[in-house]
């Protein structure tokens, strides 16, 4: 068809502004999950941070007459009382402090180390990539739980043998360290893959053709473009590490009682679950809701930023 044959009405016809129904549904779908997640996490974080100041949160010390699971969940003790007469709700909130701190610190450390490794491997390729990929593969090949147990034991004995140098190395730090170590490999992989695809993008070549140095390209072009993907990975990663802490607690390798974490709370009272379900189930619910919230937010972000779940 030549130009003269073009009917003029195709030129003047107004462009339809109708959004296809499928796209509309996608966009307009209420994101209940996201909001539940956000509200839960904000509330929980607020209570955990200001636990000492909030009037409705008891201290975790024993309450006379509440021992031996005297109270079930109710107006007096919201989540009931435990064997030693402590408020389960208060312990859950104080536990949130520690559990969240461990999970967030370790994912951030893991991201810092793994992210740098992945960035270098994905951007420079060549021998850097081969070296980093080998390290990642080795880290992934270790059975995670066994590494965790070994390291926690090691740090325990270090702390006992050299109290002057390693006195600060409490279980909390040991576990943060272990979880960070375990998070390095998967995070490095994701960052490496993302970097590899970003470095081939035309705007990176354009920046290079304008004389930008490697450092400038990494910091100004690639890093900012990694942020959206990494945000969603962070959320999902925190959820995974929360559960991992619980697993360690079950094996007796989490923080030492009476410092509460959710994993520890669950494992402490689980023998008496038949007579006092609340002491076990309530921390479980807390953990469940929190992990669910992180996952809901992470999934939402992943979908928003188009990251395939297979890479996680």
């Amino acid at each position: 068809m030549t130009l003269t044959d073009t009917p003029s009405d195709t030129v003047d016809r107004p462009v339809s502004s109708e959004v296809p129904p499928a796209a509309k549904r996608q966009r307009g779908r209420p994101s209940w999950g996201l909001w539940i997640g956000v509200v839960w996490l904000v509330t929980l974080t607020f209570m955990a941070v200001f636990a000492d100041q909030l009037p409705f949160i008891r201290s975790t010390s024993r309450v006379k007459g509440a021992g031996n699971f005297a109270f079930g969940p109710g107006a007096e003790f919201w989540f009931g009382s435990d064997q030693l007469g402590r408020d389960v709700f208060a312990r859950c909130i104080y536990g949130a402090q520690i559990s969240l701190r461990i999970a967030v610190f370790s994912i951030l450390t893991g991201l810092l180390v793994g992210g740098s490794l992945g960035l270098a491997a994905g951007y420079f390729r060549g021998w850097v990539d081969r070296l980093v990929s080998t390290v990642i593969d080795v880290l992934l090949a270790f059975p995670a739980l066994i590494i965790a147990l070994l390291i926690v034991q090691r740090t325990d004995s270090l702390q006992v043998s050299y109290p002057d140098t390693f006195g600060w190395l409490s279980r909390t730090w040991a576990i943060t360290f272990v979880l960070a170590l375990l998070a390095i490999a998967p995070l490095a992989r994701i960052v490496r893959a993302q970097t590899m695809s970003l470095r081939e993008r035309e705007f990176v070549l354009a920046a290079r053709s304008l004389g930008a140095s490697n450092r400038r390209i990494l910091v100004r072009e690639i890093l900012p473009n990694l942020v959206p993907a990494m945000t969603s990975v962070l959320f999902i990663g925190v959820a995974v590490l929360l559960v991992a802490e619980g697993a360690l607690a079950f094996l007796g390798y989490s923080v030492k009682s009476p410092t509460p974490t959710w994993g520890l709370l669950v494992s402490e009272s689980r023998q008496r679950i038949a007579e006092a379900w609340w002491a076990t189930i309530m921390p479980c619910v807390m953990m469940f809701m929190t992990v669910l919230s992180f996952n809901l937010i992470g999934d939402r972000l992943a979908r928003r930023f188009d990251i395939r779940e297979a890479t996680l």
């Binding site: 068809m1 030549t2 130009l3 044959d5 390729r125 060549g126 993008r201 035309e202 705007f203 070549l205 354009a206 920046a207 290079r208 053709s209 304008l210 004389g211 930008a212 140095s213 400038r216 100004r220 072009e221 900012p224 473009n225």
Partner: protein, 360 residues
């Protein structure tokens, strides 16, 4: 369309860019890909050279190889690239970075993806200014506004605060041109700068490039698959096929007395307004050659209507034609008796009115 080329502006000072026997091969699992195989060309200051060829003819690789922008992994790069009196192969990465942007820069095919989506337009223009020229914030912004005005972007101050996704395709390509021009390069590579744009915008962008080239006495290498694009906007044209230069001539000469059947076929495949409607487009049969195992002899021979036995055995050298500065690589060029015999009956390409007009 742009006014005719102002060749009288040219300063006689020898070629700004001289490429000699440039070879660019890639080692791949399939074998050695001979993307660019011994290409020589030169561009004088202020002149525009068009590099034409179909997809896979090596034109993009050639331009990136000249600039030294190819990833080093698996790369074989030989020959010499002399630019403003020095060999670019000898420069270390740091020296290379000071050449990029400041002395030569490039604009790319897809303006949608060649701007960083997460950085404001203003930042992307001022960054090379502060890095290369050491301008401070205010001076850089003032220069950026002037550059955007130069490339005909309305309301430049407002655009500086926008992100690439807020601009249209043509607007983005203008921004890309502004960025490429920011540090006043003496050589600009435009790699299919209009392919991703619609036709009206194409003409504007090409006009803009020509205008900036003249204003800045800058050399331009325009890489494209579209002979129509280079027709009105270049002084010389180099036709590439299968990694080799097959014909090179001043634009006017090429359109009036092309020698290579490939050039002829390229021109024939452009749809034209003076053709009767509902006529099949003339396509070049076959596919571009496999650059891992290029055919023996002339690389175009398997698809060439004129090809004889000699073409399949001996590779034709690049040799001068009667008209000045005209080189071609063909045993039986347009006008030879073999060519006349082979193309008997088919319509000769009328060169009087090639598509989109040669304004020469």
């Amino acid at each position: 369309m742009t006014p005719p080329l102002q060749t009288e502006l040219r300063v006689a000072e020898g070629a700004l860019l001289e490429v000699e026997n440039l070879v660019t091969h890639f080692r791949t699992p399939r074998g050695l890909v001979r993307a660019v195989d011994g290409v020589s060309l030169g561009v004088e200051r202020g002149r525009a050279l068009g590099i034409v060829g179909e997809s896979g003819s090596g034109k993009t690789v050639l331009s990136r190889s000249i600039m030294g922008l190819l990833p080093r992994h698996g790369l074989v790069r030989e020959g010499s690239v002399r630019f403003a009196g020095r060999d670019l192969h000898d420069l270390n990465p740091k020296a290379m970075r000071s050449v990029w942007g400041r002395e030569m820069s490039m604009i790319f095919q897809d303006p949608m993806s060649s701007l960083n989506p997460l950085m404001k337009v203003g930042k992307q223009i001022t960054e090379p200014l502060t890095v290369h020229l050491g301008l401070d914030g205010q001076a850089a912004v003032a220069t950026a506004v002037r550059l955007l005005t130069d490339v005909r972007i309305p309301e430049p101050e407002r655009r500086l605060e926008q992100y690439p996704h807020e601009l249209s395709g043509g607007m983005r390509q203008r921004v890309m041109i502004a960025i490429a021009l920011a540090c006043g390069p003496s050589m600009l590579f435009a790699d299919e700068p209009t392919t991703a744009l619609d036709v009206t915008v194409q003409a504007q962008i090409l006009a803009l490039l020509g205008e900036q080239r003249r204003d800045r006495n800058m050399s331009l290498i325009l890489v494209t698959h579209d002979l129509g694009v280079v027709a009105g906007h270049t002084d010389d044209i180099a036709v590439m096929y299968g990694g080799k230069l097959v014909e090179k001539a001043p634009t006017k000469t090429l359109f009036t007395s092309m020698k290579m059947p490939y050039t002829e076929a390229l021109l024939r495949s452009i749809p034209r307004l003076d053709q009767p409607s509902h006529q099949r487009l003339a396509a070049i049969p076959g596919r571009p050659p496999d650059l891992v195992n290029p055919p023996v002899g002339c690389r175009f021979a398997p698809r060439c209507p004129v090809a004889q036995d000699r073409c399949r055995q001996e590779e034709p050298p690049l040799r001068p034609a009667e008209s000045p500065d005209h080189l071609y690589a063909c045993w039986f060029p347009v006008g030879s008796p073999e060519h006349a015999r082979a193309t008997q009956g088919s319509q000769p390409v009328s060169v009087a009115s090639p598509a989109r007009g040669v304004e020469a």
